[in-house]
């Protein structure tokens, strides 16, 4: 089955630093989402980004579907950015409509004051 790999697995930053998280996937997908799991366990939607580039405040994401990777950029990091960041890809199935997400193993980010 499809493999979704995220790097780095762990990351420690000082507040104010920038970072780039990467998600590689092994097969064609027709959607991709980035999530932030906060300390309370909630999965917060960051981006729905099957291709192209999107920005939302200090966060931006780029997916290059033809090369099977996506990047999540965090600028001017804050302590509230701490948590686990998941990439999840949607599989092409059932005539083009995805029906499930395959999650990567996540990147654990700790932002220190």
């Amino acid at each position: 089955g499809i493999q979704v790999e995220q790097s780095p697995p762990d990351l420690i930053l000082q507040e104010g630093a920038n970072s780039t998280l990467r998600c590689n996937f092994s097969d064609s997908v027709n959607n991709l989402q980035w999530f932030h799991q906060n300390p309370w366990g909630q999965l917060i939607n960051l981006f729905y980004i099957p291709s192209g580039t999107k920005q939302n405040g200090r966060l931006s994401a780029t997916t290059v579907a033809t090369e099977r990777y996506s990047l999540l950029y965090i600028s001017s990091s804050q302590t509230t950015d701490s948590g686990v960041y998941f990439c999840a890809v949607g599989l092409m199935n059932y005539g083009g409509a995805t029906n499930k997400l395959i999650f990567g193993t996540g990147t654990l980010l700790a932002v220190q004051p």
Binding site: Q33, F86, K100
Partner: protein, 113 residues
């Protein structure tokens, strides 16, 4: 508009007992998914409903798990009898269409002792 809501937020049960988890999707979302994260592992797909029909239940671990979605609205996931390895966080998600952005609930943390 309310997001995906799950009940209960936490459940502690003894091995051999029965537990029922509930998910209320975003209003109007025909697609409803169950996922779970067992300790130390990645988030994995369990099953997918389109309205009241099971579209894909390939991720259900065994016949101790039963999911229903009566009337195509809320869904329940019953575990009977529960085993120790069923402990983890159970997430529900919903989307408008099969290949559109999925939104997750806050999860139910199940502990089997």
């Amino acid at each position: 508009e309310a997001g995906v809501t799950q009940f209960p937020s936490h459940s502690v049960i003894e091995k051999g007992q029965t537990v029922t988890l509930r998910c209320d999707p975003i209003s109007g979302h025909d697609n409803l998914y169950w996922y779970r994260r067992v300790m130390g592992k990645e988030i994995k797909f369990l099953l997918h409903f389109v309205k009241e029909s099971k579209q894909d239940e390939s991720g259900m671990p065994n016949n101790r798990f039963l999911a229903e979605r009566t009337g195509g609205t809320y869904s329940t996931l019953k575990v009977q009898p529960a085993e120790l390895e069923d402990s983890g966080v159970y997430f529900c998600a919903s989307s408008l269409y099969g290949d559109t952005e999925a939104f997750f609930g806050q999860g139910t943390r199940l502990t089997v002792v």
